[in-house]
Assembly symmetry: C3
Homo-oligomer: 315 residues x 3
Amino acid sequence: MKLFSSVNDVTDINQLVNEALLHKQNPYAHQQLGKNRILGLIFLNPSLRTRLSTQKAALNLGMNVIVMNMDKEGWALEFNDGVVMNGTTVEHIREAAGVMGQYVDILGVRSFPGLVDREKDYSEEIFNKFVEFCGVPMVSLESATRHPLQSLADLVTIHELKTTARPKVVLTWAPHVKALPQAVPNSFAEWMCKADVQFVIAHPEGYALCDDFTGGATITHNQDEAINGADFIYVKNWSAYEPYGKVFGEHNDWMLTNQKLTLTNNAKVMHCLPVRRNLELSAEVLDGPNSLVVHEAGNRVWAAQAVLKQMLQAL
Amino acid sequence: MKLFSSVNDVTDINQLVNEALLHKQNPYAHQQLGKNRILGLIFLNPSLRTRLSTQKAALNLGMNVIVMNMDKEGWALEFNDGVVMNGTTVEHIREAAGVMGQYVDILGVRSFPGLVDREKDYSEEIFNKFVEFCGVPMVSLESATRHPLQSLADLVTIHELKTTARPKVVLTWAPHVKALPQAVPNSFAEWMCKADVQFVIAHPEGYALCDDFTGGATITHNQDEAINGADFIYVKNWSAYEPYGKVFGEHNDWMLTNQKLTLTNNAKVMHCLPVRRNLELSAEVLDGPNSLVVHEAGNRVWAAQAVLKQMLQAL
Amino acid sequence: MKLFSSVNDVTDINQLVNEALLHKQNPYAHQQLGKNRILGLIFLNPSLRTRLSTQKAALNLGMNVIVMNMDKEGWALEFNDGVVMNGTTVEHIREAAGVMGQYVDILGVRSFPGLVDREKDYSEEIFNKFVEFCGVPMVSLESATRHPLQSLADLVTIHELKTTARPKVVLTWAPHVKALPQAVPNSFAEWMCKADVQFVIAHPEGYALCDDFTGGATITHNQDEAINGADFIYVKNWSAYEPYGKVFGEHNDWMLTNQKLTLTNNAKVMHCLPVRRNLELSAEVLDGPNSLVVHEAGNRVWAAQAVLKQMLQAL
């Protein structure tokens, strides 16, 4: 594997899920593979799970890791071509990415969307310019429109804990006070649409995701109907795709509660975290027996390890 | 050992001191013990000595280390239960700590007190919630009311350099321009009260420490009397315990000088650092032959290594 | 080697260049040398290339690396002696550097000049106080007046790619919108003056470098004349040495273009990066076949590795 930015970069998702679960059983089996290899992790935005789990995955594979908070420790980056750089940006992505590729064997980059210019965000300009200019295999640590390491960990979690061959998985919108990116729901949707699950998306009117990611999903505005009989519920807020980045109404009745869980098939509850308690998801659910959120975060290690192993093998 | 947050977590402080000194003689003797183990160091506040010395200790034991400045690189944490998280905090300690425990084998956390709400600070709410929710052994990198790795290094230093079986050790308040926590003096006091030393605390009126930490110490407001015949003087500023976090008066005459050292038994002078020169402690003392401050900081490595080794053995 | 702060710390620059190129051919040949050794990298300013390349060099040598952004993660440092530290500085360089030396085997420090007080900057007060008080070998990661790891990498690049025994190398001033330090041009000049090259410096009137660094160079205000027949052109902006830190005029005609390259011997174009496109250097040159900037940045690894290896051997 040379690139891991979306489900479309994966030849066989079932094989990747199985590999992740093998790493979970035997974390250090491939420790020679990463010897003298360096993983560079570049953050243009905050990170907890991705930061720690990807480091652990690389260490398990015997790699060295270099972490850099580009937004704080480096230089302000310019992404546009043809400009005269006489303003506040100090280094162009062409040089910055090119140079990073000199120092690492695999590069991971996190960069959130601006949520202002949809065309720009959905072109994945920032991530794609890193890919174009760094010259080494790249893994997304969450980009403007996708969070594939999260989605792979989510699928690993569902695969690990499902009790029926083809579980019902529901992605439900949840309330929030800020306008959040669509990256996690887009990404979860595109993975679920390729997985062996019955996939339903529920959101209030106005929050339809871009249909590039949702082909094959059942989509409804009725949350109760959606979660009826669900085996897994994936909770997440997102802002509108159209008008882009907007939020409207509070929709506090969309917060998942124990009461709502009674409609489900004793559904396991997932969230990518961080989660705002009692706003996105009730504390009673998060602290109850149905919550998978910490377990799911733990699986981020094995997802990252499966991806990094395939990249190391292709070096 | 599963927890290192105060002297009360240590079964036998002499044995721990001796172990630290053995590590100092032979730093790499236990390098297999940490193989494939990860130490996570989470900073909610600045750190120099703790940051570097704990990393070195872990590396000496063959561990991998992941450092995270939670205040800058992660998400703003919520510590209160039952709240609707519709404000500025993004992630609850329940999830944040739970997730960290998925990625590391031992977790270290630094979190300073607010110095506003005494009950809250002295409940050690923040540190204790990390302990409660992370699910892995934890070491304090300085909490609201204690700095046990510092105190263990201090005791190691005294043990290493004492010339009498039961030295006279004096903790003296020193001037400052800011209101500082009581963590270092509290912690030093509780360790000295359990050590085989003659322990005296000197401070101006109004700066009495909480007596939970000082049982067995001789306490005086007369600095000259206190340091008379002292073998070790531990210099440190702190703000008042009652009224909490307050400072009153300059007390510049409490700064230790060479003149004052003539009252002592050629006392060695200690400070946890950072120290404000010519305010807390005179440059002439810091640059003179009696200062142990850099040597003492060096012993932070062996203190941390002794603690981490006991934790690794108990995994 | 105990100190690497300028070309004057190097006994034999040709031997060091050759050693760097040997590391490039065989990066892991000396991996036992760094076992259980710690490199500390202290940044008081931003860094991309130096941060990543020096870590990689140390890892190649089997060292452990501890990175600290002193400006963000530690305490505000005081460099003056004799002051009463009752202001905003929290820790004196005497203690801070002394303590760092307890934790690392080799210390690297980056500290930019203030560009206000020339005498202070050119005394290299900050870097030299780290040297004076840390007690371990030190490598400059760019100081107020020099950037020797960059200059060594530059010389390695010229040596690697020259097609004549004694190439013509031109350092040319370039336009910018900010007042930049003289460290890179000073340093490049002092290395080139000792190297087996024909060395020319071109800059507009008013931008003469301190002649401590330029002895033996041909200096001109005529860029076209300077680059005539050049084999390598090193592009860099700097502010005036006298009046110190000042800039005057835009001199946009000093930006290197493809048109200007026709005057040269198909010159290779170098820059330390970061570079402001279409201000310091035209995009057409940076993206064209003559640009070495990314290749040159890659050589930072081997330059650092040659220096660290000599330091490890002398421990």
